[in-house]
């Protein structure tokens, strides 16, 4: 869940049409049209990626008069399916996957069960990955993959390139090679497995 209280605003005179903003927007809400960037206000999730990367400082973040709440509820879904999807992605359903918005794995799973087919759609529906834009791409890709979805990165964009390895996939040979150098792969696997299997707390979000 995210309360979107900001909106990207382009100063057309400063915009040089370089498309950087288009390439970094995690929800594809800004596009260059006739050599000027244009924001789709209804899509913008107020993440400031475009504002932070525009080489010409042509974008500012304005406070929205009416904040928009974006959230995907698990209500109406078979919760067993939500749990199953999270566990297949090796995540606990209540585990936080986006630290900025405190989005839990179950909400991303619910978005996927409701039809999200790419990280961009997940972010648009849940607000996840519209805070720091950095740390939460992998659990989103893992959840999509666990649902049998293989999204393609936006063409020409820099939004994301691919899923990367998890600790369960580290080759035995690599583990052996670095044993004694302070990397605790197997112990981390045990810890993460315990988290995945931990009981649900349920109830309303704290």
């Amino acid at each position: 869940m995210k309360v979107v209280n900001l909106l990207a605003v382009v100063e057309a005179e400063k915009c040089k049409g370089c498309r950087t903003c288009e390439r970094v927007c995690p929800v594809l809400a800004i596009k260059v049209v006739n050599r000027k960037a244009v924001v789709d206000a209804a899509r913008c999730r107020g993440c400031a990626a475009c504002e932070q990367r525009c080489p010409d400082y042509a974008i500012t973040m304005a406070k929205r008069d009416e904040p928009v709440v974006v959230a995907v509820s698990t209500e109406g879904l078979d919760y067993a399916q939500v749990v199953d999807l999270c566990r297949r992605a090796r995540l606990h359903p209540e585990q936080i996957v986006c630290y900025c918005t405190a989005t839990r794995a179950e909400e991303v799973a619910a978005a996927i069960l409701r039809g999200a087919r790419s990280p961009e759609e997940v972010s648009f529906m849940t607000g996840a990955r519209t805070g720091c834009k950095v740390e939460c791409i992998q659990p989103i890709l893992r959840l999509l993959e666990a649902a049998g979805v293989t999204p393609a990165p936006p063409k020409g964009g820099w939004q994301w390139y691919g899923r990367t390895p998890t600790v369960w996939e580290i080759p035995e040979g690599v583990k052996q090679k670095y044993t004694g150098r302070g990397f605790y792969f197997d112990e981390d696997i045990k810890l993460l497995n315990r988290v995945i299997e931990a009981p649900l707390q349920g109830g309303s979000d704290s």
């Binding site: 995210k2 309360v3 209280n5 900001l6 390439r23 107020g46 400031a48 990626a49 932070q52 990367r53 406070k63 606990h92 209540e94 585990q95 936080i96 996957v97 630290y99 900025c100 918005t101 405190a102 519209t130 805070g131 720091c132 834009k133 950095v134 740390e135 939460c136 791409i137 992998q138 893992r142 820099w158 994301w160 390139y161 691919g162 899923r163 990367t164 390895p165 998890t166 600790v167 580290i170 080759p171 670095y178 150098r181 302070g182 990397f183 605790y184 792969f185 112990e187 981390d188 696997i189 810890l191 993460l192 315990r194 988290v195 931990a198 009981p199 707390q201 109830g203 979000d205 704290s206």
Partner: protein
């Protein structure tokens, strides 16, 4: 008791309130004093900065350290990227790090005849932060317009590693050679656990979001920093790596500069110094039984520091962050992720945030790092409506003020904290150089505890920490 040490002044930045709004520093309030780190731990090293010579001492130390480095593969017609990171610019005001970067450029140019030397400065989660430092320290002119801030959402490149494909920032690697210009300050011990600290930027400030997310979500709390090693060891990075040059930092200042063609040899030295000097400071802070924490430094909530210890690490000082037998600190992103919907940890053995912190007075700290976990679990008073509003406008902190209250002045915030907590022990995170600003009762407490802590670290903890990391002691003799 000593007077407080002048704290690092507020700095103009898009991530913090305007310096004019910081009307009072916490150390200026009645009852505040300071202790010198050397009075706590007399074995702390001698430092070259701060000192009478200023940054000239850093230049000399850099030139000296680079003498033993082999630069013969860099040819006049080549291009070189000096890789920097934001964090160095937060150390002791930033000048020493900027001076080291300038000196590396000068020495490489003089020794190799190479003129195409660029600066690429990576960031954490504030994508324009190093742009601000590049301007502030005149690095753009110094590098003839070839200094750029790079961010993890910039164009990337795949890097094949022994665990699979990871991703780096294209502009970091767009030269024939890279020079890794960093520092040994420990900073986020909760994340890297002092394992391959010297290698970390390859998995972080030089890396794309895919890699950083691997670190924080895919590997686990004690395997995370392997992402950095995987990237650094890749044939691609090895084919470009020229050498590393580090500002060697202790809690009390800059010890010197170290440089090496072998990053792992340098890493062992960094590990030893980090465990020994910062380990003592953190162990001492772990002894604190109760206190009010005051944040008063120009950087995000988690990174404000006191005696080289960042707030995020004090918030986890109830467990030994250096002891790799402990799977989870009280704060790390993995820990934060493991709190369920009722606000309780999903596992019973997840340690709480340091219960000694009775209240946090946020006098001055920046946005640009997700910090709501702290205000959710530690009673927090933010000084000034402008600062509260800045957090409400930060996409990374939309929940921070949900859990914090606002006081109009520093005095009112501290009065409130004293009344509610009943403690007079105050630890101020204001980056005071060479010492700690704090309240008198806490100063007495720390001075009393320090000798026993020092002995325990030397005899018991340090040997264990180094053993856990397989540190090669022969590298330390160099």
């Amino acid at each position: 008791m000593r007077p407080p040490i002048p704290p690092i002044p507020p700095r103009k930045s898009q991530y913090g309130i305007d310096p004019s709004l910081v009307k009072k520093r916490v150390c200026e309030l009645p009852g505040m004093t300071s202790v010198l780190l050397k009075d706590l731990f007399p074995d702390l090293p001698e430092v070259i900065y701060p000192g009478g010579e200023g940054v000239a001492a850093v230049r000399r130390a850099t030139e000296e350290a680079l003498r033993k480095v082999d630069m013969s593969r860099i040819k006049p017609e080549h291009s070189v990227n000096i890789l920097a990171s934001h964090h160095g610019f937060t150390l002791l005001g930033g000048e020493p790090y900027a001076e080291m970067l300038k000196t590396i450029k000068d020495v490489v140019e003089a020794r190799t005849g190479c003129k195409n030397i660029r600066l690429r400065a990576g960031v954490g989660l504030r994508f324009r932060e190093t742009e601000e430092y590049i301007k502030r320290f005149g690095l753009d002119e110094y590098f003839h317009g070839k200094a750029a801030g790079v961010a993890p959402i910039d164009e990337g490149i795949p890097i094949e590693t022994e665990i699979g494909t990871l991703y780096g920032i294209k502009k970091v690697y767009d030269a024939d050679w890279i020079i890794h210009a960093h520092n040994s300050d420990v900073r986020e011990v909760h994340f890297h656990r002092q394992v391959d600290r010297a290698v970390k930027p390859f998995g972080m400030s030089y890396a794309r979001i895919e890699t950083r997310s691997t670190y924080h979500q895919n590997l686990g709390p004690r395997a995370a920093n392997f992402t950095a090693r995987a990237i650094f060891d890749s044939p691609f990075v090895q084919s470009k790596f020229a050498f590393a040059c580090f500002l060697m930092v202790a809690p009390n200042g800059i010890m010197g500069v170290d440089a090496d063609n072998d990053l792992y040899a340098l890493n062992d030295r960094v590990t030893y110094l980090g465990c020994r000097y910062y380990g003592k400071m953190m162990t001492l802070f772990g002894e604190i039984d109760e206190c009010i924490v005051a944040l008063d430094f120009p950087c995000p909530v988690v990174y404000v520091f006191s005696a080289g210890v960042i707030y995020a690490n004090f918030a986890g000082a109830n467990t030994d962050l250096y002891d790799l037998d402990n799977p989870l600190p009280g704060y790390t992103w993995y820990t934060e992720a493991f709190y369920g919907k009722r606000g309780r940890p999903l596992l019973d053995d997840v340690p709480p945030l340091n219960p000694a912190i009775k209240m946090c007075v946020h006098n001055y700290a920046w946005t640009g790092y997700p910090s709501a976990f702290f205000s959710e679990h530690i009673p927090t008073v933010v000084v000034g409506w402008e600062q509260a509003e800045l957090f409400n406008r930060d996409p990374q902190n939309l929940n921070y003020m949900k859990h914090a209250v606002v006081a109009e002045t520093t005095e009112a915030a501290m009065e409130f904290a004293y009344k509610v907590t009943g403690t007079r022990k105050v630890l101020i995170f204001d980056g005071a150089i060479g010492g700690i600003n704090l309240s008198e009762p806490l100063a007495e407490f720390l001075l009393k505890k320090a000798p026993a802590v020092s002995e325990r670290v030397e005899n018991e903890l340090l040997p264990k920490w180094l053993r856990q990391r397989g540190v090669d002691l022969s590298h330390l003799k160099q």
